[in-house]
Structure formats: C-alpha cells, structure tokens
Amino acid sequence: MKINNKQGWRKRKSNIAVFLAVLSAVLVLIPLFLILFYTVQKGISSINWDFFTQMPKPVGETGGGMANALVGSGILILIGSVMGIPVGVMSGIYLSEQNKGIMPHAIRFLVEVLNGVPSIVIGIIAYITFVIPMKSFSALSGGFALGVIMIPLITRTTEEMVRLVPSTVREASLGLGIPKWKTTLFVILPAAMKGLFTGIILSIARAAGETAPLLFTALGNRFWSTNLNEPISSITVFIYDYAKAPFDDWNRQAWAASLVLIVLVTTLNIIFRFVSRKRK
C-alpha cells in the first residue's frame, strides 16, 4: 500500500514536471505574439504609400513619412557591409584553413568576445574614432559601428560554411595540381557561396535592427541627407525619437516603422534559417 502511494506520487510529480515544461513554452511564446499583435494593430493604420515616400512633417502636423530614414538605413548598412563583409569573410576563411598553433583558437575566441561586446560600446568606439576627429556626427561613423557589429557574425558563418564543403572537393582540386589559394578562392568558396550569402543576410538583419550604436554616431536627421559626413536618419533611431515624442500621431508612426522593421528582419531571418537548415 505504501509502495503504491509512492508510485502514484512519482507519477504525479512527473506529470507536473511535464505540465510545467509545456506551460513555460506557452508563457515564452505569449510575449512574441503580443509584440507581433500590438505592432500590427497599432502600426498598420499609419502604413501607406506616403509613409515610405514622404519626408517627416514638422512638429505638430500629422502625416508625413520616413523616406529619409529608409534611405539612411540603407546607406548605413551599405557602409557597414563594405567594411564588415571583406573582413568577416577573409577572417572566416583564415579560421577554416588554419588549424596549427594557438593563433586560430585565440582569434576564434576573440571573434566570440567581439560578438558579445555591447553594441553601445561599439558606438563609443565609432564616436572616438570618427566623430571626435571629424568634429561632427556622421553617416560614416554609424556605418563603421554597424560594420564592427557585422564582422563576428559573418566570420562565424563563413568558417562554418567553408568547413561544410566536403574535404573530397578540396582534395580533388589539390590533386589536379591547383594551388591551394586558387582551390580556396575558386573551388571551395563558390561551393560555400550560398551559405556565405545567408550569413551575410543574417548580419544585415542584425545591423538593420541596431539602434544603440547609431545614437551618437549617425545621430539621426529630420531632413534629407546622403552626405556621408553629415548626420543621417535611420529606421531605428526614427522609432526611438518618435516613441519618446508626446504626439499620438508620432507614436503611431513609431509603431508603423517597427512593423516595417519587424517584417524586414524576420523575413531575412527566416530566409537564413530555411537555407541553413536545408544544408545541415
């Protein structure tokens, strides 16, 4: 009788544990759905053609858009990519080719460390490197910050994707007498290209969602600007400014911009998951 009781308790305890696991999964997904729900509900009304093509209206007037922020984000990401992609891809290749000595391990570790550096700290670096000498907030400094943020992500995916190319491919190429560097550049890299591409997409998604490093580098700009030496607007800083403003219409536009950002970022992420999962 006593044993039976104990058995019953063990079973009940097990059921409770399973229930708690299910419950935590449900609890974790609730915020996701709430965020998506509110972003769509509050943002959709302000999304129209004007929102993408018009400039911000002066304070007090309703309407207007974020054309300059969209272009600004594009420019910032472009600058970031110009800097981040070569460094990321090349160091990824280095890590995947080199196994000897302590250096590759150290650099792999440093890449992880760089990945963990708070983005606001990277903003400070961009501030010290560009804003102080140039004596002006600039698109260039913001792009530099985004580039630094992109580097570790691209390095890591490049290394993984290059390693995924079967060693037989490399051996076949080397066996034909093709030098190692040509093998890497013209045989291995094309084979890993799809993976590299998705890695770059992922890093762009991350850069597109960054706000903190832009606050005191690109700063934001209510006017049209494509000058790299001047402050430039971006979607995320646009959201930040409009969220803090005491105008309902601006707040609605902040939600709308968030909706645009979420759609952009999640689409890029889903592309990445889809392609990278298929490969594995």
């Binding site: 097990s14 696991a21 999964a25 550096v117 708070p118 390095t155 930040y240 970022v265 999640t266």
Partner: protein, 329 residues
C-alpha cells in the same frame, strides 16, 4: 660563332630552368600571399579589440585621474557640479540583469526540456523557430512595446496586485509608475530567454540517448529521466546562463525606454533605476564638458570589461561542453 651559339643555347635552357622554378615559387608565393592576406584580416579582429580597449582607456583617462577608485564607489552623479560616481549605474545593471536571470532561467530550462524531452517531433521545429524569432526582434521594438503596452499594464494591473498582496516585502514598495526595475527586468528576461533556451536545448540534445534509455529501463518516470539529463547538461546550462547574463548587461535600448532613468540605488522593483548602458544612450549626446564625456566613456570601458569577462567565462564553459559532446551552435 660556335661559341656564341652555344652560349645562346645555354641561356635558353637557363631561362627555361628559371621560368620553371619561377612557376613553382609563384605557386608558393600565391599561397603565401593569400594566406597572409586572410591572416591580416583575422588579425584585424584582434586589433579591433585592442583598439577598443586602448581608445576607451585613453579617452577615459581624465576621469580616471580625477576620480580614481571613487568613480566606482561613489553614487554621486551630478553633471551640473561636474562630479561623477558610477555606482548607481553599476548597481542598476547588475540588479536588473540578475532579476532578468531569475525570471528567465526557469522558463528557459522549461522550454528546453519541452523541446528536447516532451514535444513531439512535428512540434519541436516550429516552436524552436518561434523562440529564435523572439531573439531576432530588434531591441528598439521591445522598448516600444515596453513603453506603450508593458508599462501601463504593470502600472494598472500587476504593481497594485503585488503591492496589496506582497507589500510587506522591501521589493514592492514605493509609488507605482509602471516604468522602473520591474519593467526592465521583464523586458530583459524576454530578450535573453531565446539565448539560454537554444544553447541549453543543444546541450541537452547532445546528451546520449543511452542515458535516457538506462533511466527508463530502471523504471524512472519522465521527470526522473529529465532530472538525469539536466544534471548531465548542467555545465552547458551554466554557460548558457552566463551568455544570457552577458547579453542582459549590455542591452541598451529596451532598458533605456522602460527603466525610468534615475541614478538611484533602490531594491524596490517599482522604483526607477539606471544602467550603465542606458546612461550612455541617454546622456552621451548631451554631455557638455570634457570630464562628463570622459566619465561616460569610463562607464563604457567598465561595461566592456565586465561583458568580456563574463562572455569569456561563458565561452570557456560552453566550449568545454562542445568538446565533450560534439558541435553545439
């Protein structure tokens, strides 16, 4: 004539010989150049980290010289009198991150258990994807959600409830604004759950099935089996937790938008606080004096050092687990 001819012939073979060796050395030269170019870029990453540290150190020297150790121990932050002590921010960062961990850790382990031990195969992939989506949402969107949805909800529903039922605890005292530690901790916990979950899940997945089969064969219930898996995966979960902690410490935008931004030290969850990251986001562009900027950069330096230490420990722990059980992302 003959002599000349033979000489000519000689030079030809000589040339041939040289061109051949040139081809071979060119090939090695190519490898050499390419390898060094990639190495150069890899060292760029190394240089970048050194640069980050050096630049911030140099820029924060005025503040370090002026305040010394009192910068960390003083809680007096007064830009008007040009006196700076960073203790409230250090406290705010650690307190909010710890609270976030307390909320996030059990939930993350729960989800990881659900994904690896409970969920059927067809459910596992979609739920994993959704949790990862949570990590993909930009922090500014979390902040927006915090301002307009979470903070009002806390002010109207949650905080009055906590105050009437648990008001005797020091954690639930003071005025209820919605904005404050509680909001920051909740938002942070949502943001770090995906990190802790995905690494814990990978570690638990890597635990060999023979362990589970052995447990079941001995008559263990599902929970008892899960417990065994959790114990085997504990170091991986610890690493995941540290990574989540590191992320919470450096998180800026979402926290800035909900924490209330007051440099005060209070254990009450209702009170406004400030973190190292949020003070940078708030005051950097407005900083007028050189000492002010220097102090802010010193806070950045502290933040950098703290996150590097935590992330390094986390990486070492996770890498050790990776070595034991194979590749974990």
């Amino acid at each position: 004539m003959i002599k000349l001819f033979s000489k000519k012939k000689e030079t030809k073979t000589e040339k041939n010989f040289y061109s051949k060796t040139l081809v071979i050395s060119e090939r090695h030269l190519g490898d050499y150049i390419f390898q060094n170019i990639t190495r150069l870029f890899a060292f760029f990453v190394f240089g970048l980290i050194v640069l980050i540290f050096l630049e911030m150190f140099i820029e924060s020297l005025p503040s370090i010289n002026k305040f010394g150790l009192s910068f960390i121990t003083s809680s007096h932050w007064d830009p008007v009198k040009d006196k700076y002590g960073a203790l409230p921010f250090i406290f705010g960062t650690l307190y909010s991150s710890l609270l976030a961990l307390i909320i996030a850790l059990p939930l993350s382990i729960g989800v990881a258990v659900f994904l690896t031990e409970v969920a059927p195969d067809w459910l596992e992939q979609p739920i994993s994807l959704l949790v990862e989506l949570l990590a993909a949402i930009p922090s500014i969107v979390y902040g927006l959600f915090g301002i307009f949805v979470l903070a009002p909800f806390l002010r109207i529903v949650v905080e009055p409830f906590l105050k009437t039922h648990f008001g005797f605890l020091p954690f639930f005292k003071g005025d209820m604004f919605g904005f404050g530690m509680l909001a920051a901790a909740l938002i942070l916990s949502i943001m770090i759950i995906p990190i802790i979950t995905s690494i814990s899940r990978d570690v638990m997945k890597a635990i060999p099935d023979s362990l589970r089969e052995g447990a079941y064969a001995l008559g263990a219930t599902k929970w008892e089996t899960i417990k065994i898996v959790l114990i085997s995966a504990r170091s991986g979960i610890l690493g995941a937790t540290l990574l989540g902690f590191g992320r919470a410490i450096g998180e800026t935008m979402a926290v800035t938008m909900v924490i209330g931004n007051k440099p005060e030290i209070s254990f009450s969850l209702f009170d406004a606080g400030h973190t190292m990251a949020s003070v940078l986001a708030n005051e950097f562009t407005e900083a007028a004096s050189d000492l002010y900027i220097s102090s802010l950069i010193e806070i950045g330096l502290l933040l950098f050092v703290i996150t590097i230490v935590i992330n390094s420990i986390a990486r070492v722990v996770v890498n050790r687990v990776t070595k034991k059980y194979g590749k974990i992302n």
